[in-house]
Every structure is written in C-alpha cells, then in structure tokens.
C-alpha cells in the first residue's frame, strides 16, 4: 500500500516544542545546551553522535555542570553476540551506549533518544533519565541498548553537557532538546 504524505497530514498543537538544536561544526571536547527554561514537564533529547578520535567511543551526559559522585546508571544492551547488563552508582556522569568514533567508518553515527523526566521539579526529587541508543555497524564493536540514570540533584535541570570517553564529539553530530508540556 502506498501512502502519499500530505493527504492526511495536519499541524499539531504545541505540547512538544523545540528548545534548542546544536549542530557540531568541528570536533568539540564537549557540547553543552544551556539556559533550558523551566516551563515544561519533561525534556527529550534527540541526537545523532559521532565520538572522539578512535574507532569506537562511549558518550556520557552530565546535567547542570554537576560532577562528583552524583550519578547512578544501569544499562541493558546487545553487542551482536549476547545481551548484557551493567550498573554503577556514585559516578560523575551517566555513560551511554557505544557509538562510532571519528576514526571509524565514515558517515556512520550513533543515535540516541533520552528522556529527562520531571526535570523542573524542585520539591525534593532527584531526576531520572532513560535512554535508547545505538548504532549499526559490521565487524566492529557495536551496541544497542537502554540506559536508566539517576541525577542526584533536587534543582531544576537547566543545562545538559555531552562528551565522550575519547574526549570529543565530532563534526556532523546533532543534539536537539525538546520540551514536553504538562497538563
């Protein structure tokens, strides 16, 4: 069945709004999206990423510039051979699923969708994130998986920083952050 676009389409009301998009033009040590307004209920980060100068890389995420032992994470992922899980507390960042590094196959990026739930709450709650990420390559280290993360801050989230183990986010990477309105 062939469905031509436009026949059924229409505009939606603004309950899911773009806050910022960053297109990385050259290798950057980290990418920060800041000044996130506290006018939404949840955030969603949608990204295509390529890492630092290596074949593979593992991105990480921090919030509000917070480091120290202020994060916990659990992941479940497949690597092409088996399904694994891992977890860690008292981290200084939340690790994400493996992606191509900038020395890997050209034009290949990893993809991520990261939900930051109740990000603006200042009533004593730590913040929760969940993500789906991965990349599809052949004959190299590769993952697709889910990550759950805890951010030990009761402050509203106002900035997001993404970096990588190998120290870079490559040109062509894109990070968009959206706000989802509450009722």
């Amino acid at each position: 069945m062939l469905i031509p676009i436009g026949f059924f389409g229409g505009g939606a009301s603004g309950s899911y709004e773009l806050i910022q998009t960053t297109l990385v033009s050259s290798m950057s040590t980290t990418v920060t999206l800041s000044s996130i307004p506290n006018t939404y209920k949840h955030l969603q980060i949608r990204a295509t990423l390529r890492g630092g100068p290596a074949t593979n890389d593992r991105p990480w995420i921090q919030f509000n510039g917070l480091a120290g032992q202020n994060y916990a994470e659990h992941s479940m992922y497949g690597n092409g051979s088996a399904v694994y899980s891992s977890g860690a507390g008292n981290q200084d960042k939340i690790s994400q699923i493996l992606i191509p590094g900038d020395n890997g196959t050209a034009l290949v990026f990893g993809a991520f969708i990261i939900d930051v739930l109740d990000y603006g709450n200042t009533s004593g709650k730590y913040k929760i994130i969940r993500s789906l990420g991965g990349s599809a390559r052949w004959n190299t280290s590769n993952e697709v998986g889910l990550v759950s993360g805890l951010v030990k801050t009761t402050s509203a989230i106002n900035s997001v920083t993404i970096g990588s183990v190998n120290g870079g986010i490559a040109a062509g990477s894109r990070i968009s952050i959206y706000g989802i309105k509450g009722a």
């Binding site: 469905i3 031509p4 998009t21 034009l107 990026f109 993809a111 599809a136 390559r137 052949w138």
Partner: protein, 154 residues
C-alpha cells in the same frame, strides 16, 4: 501561538491485508521521523527500505522472549530483522536526521509484543540521500493494523 513540532504526516488503517506499506513524497521540513505501527500480522520479521533502494544495510538487535535473550549484528541486502508476532504489537521506529545529506541514516526501533517478546534495534540505511519514501515490509500486515507517521522539527 507555538510552532507545531511533532507533526502528524500520515495516519492509515489497513482496510485489507497488505504485504507492505510505503510512505512516499516525504517532505524535507523535519529533522526526524517517527513511525508507529500497531496491529497484527503474520509472524516473522519486519524489514524496511528507503527511497526504493536495495543494497547493503546494517542492523544490531537485542531481543528477549521471556525465556532467553539474543543479540545479532549483520550486514545484508533486504533486511527483515525486526521480529514480530501475530497480534497485539506496537513498533516505534525513529528515523534520525532523515533529511541530512552528510551522514548515513540511523534508525532506533522498539518492538513491544507483550505476549511474546520485547526488542530494541539499531538500523542503518547506507544512503546519504534525504529519505523521501519509507517502506515497511517482510510480513503480511492484517486488516485493521494502523501506521502513523510523524515529523519532528529541529
């Protein structure tokens, strides 16, 4: 008035069974596409193709059927690799940066079939062309199955 950001592009309910569903003439005014399939089909594996092209594509899978887990990675033409079952299926397929011409196209997929399996998939179409058509194939989709396509602005 806010600008629509998550925009419905197509919404179809099959009036009769179909071996594939193709969304064509997809405009380039968005950043990502989201396809939501809900319904039933013959059991098997769902596949995809873009822009009517055939060629080598790539996938990475992780699936659990309640008693075992499995993960595969592969490169091959005509990929049908998203396991589905006959009923009560929801698949959400995110096509990331579909209009970009500086990268191959990445997909993130979640498959939920509560009676049988859950799965997550990373897919890649090896084209730097903007995606103008998206085809879902591989099984016989039953009448009553729905396919919704959304565009996300960036």
């Amino acid at each position: 008035m806010s600008t629509p950001t998550y925009t419905p592009l197509a919404n179809v309910t099959l009036s009769s069974s179909a071996s594939s569903v193709t969304f064509s003439s997809i405009g380039q005014g968005f950043r990502d596409l989201v396809l939501i399939y809900r319904g039933s089909s013959s059991s098997g594996q769902i596949g995809w193709s873009v822009n009517g092209q055939s060629g080598i594509d790539y996938f990475m899978t992780a699936e659990s059927n309640g008693s075992s887990n499995a993960s595969q990675q592969q490169q091959q033409a005509t990929i049908n690799q998203i396991t589905t079952v006959s009923d009560n299926v929801v698949m959400v397929m995110n096509v990331m940066d579909y209009s970009a011409t500086d990268k191959y196209k990445s997909f993130l997929v979640r498959m939920s079939a509560a009676s049988a399996l859950t799965g997550m998939y990373a897919l890649r179409s090896n084209t730097t062309s903007a995606i103008t058509s998206l085809r879902i194939q591989g099984v016989t989709f039953s009448a009553g199955s729905t396919f919704e396509l959304f565009g996300i602005v960036a």
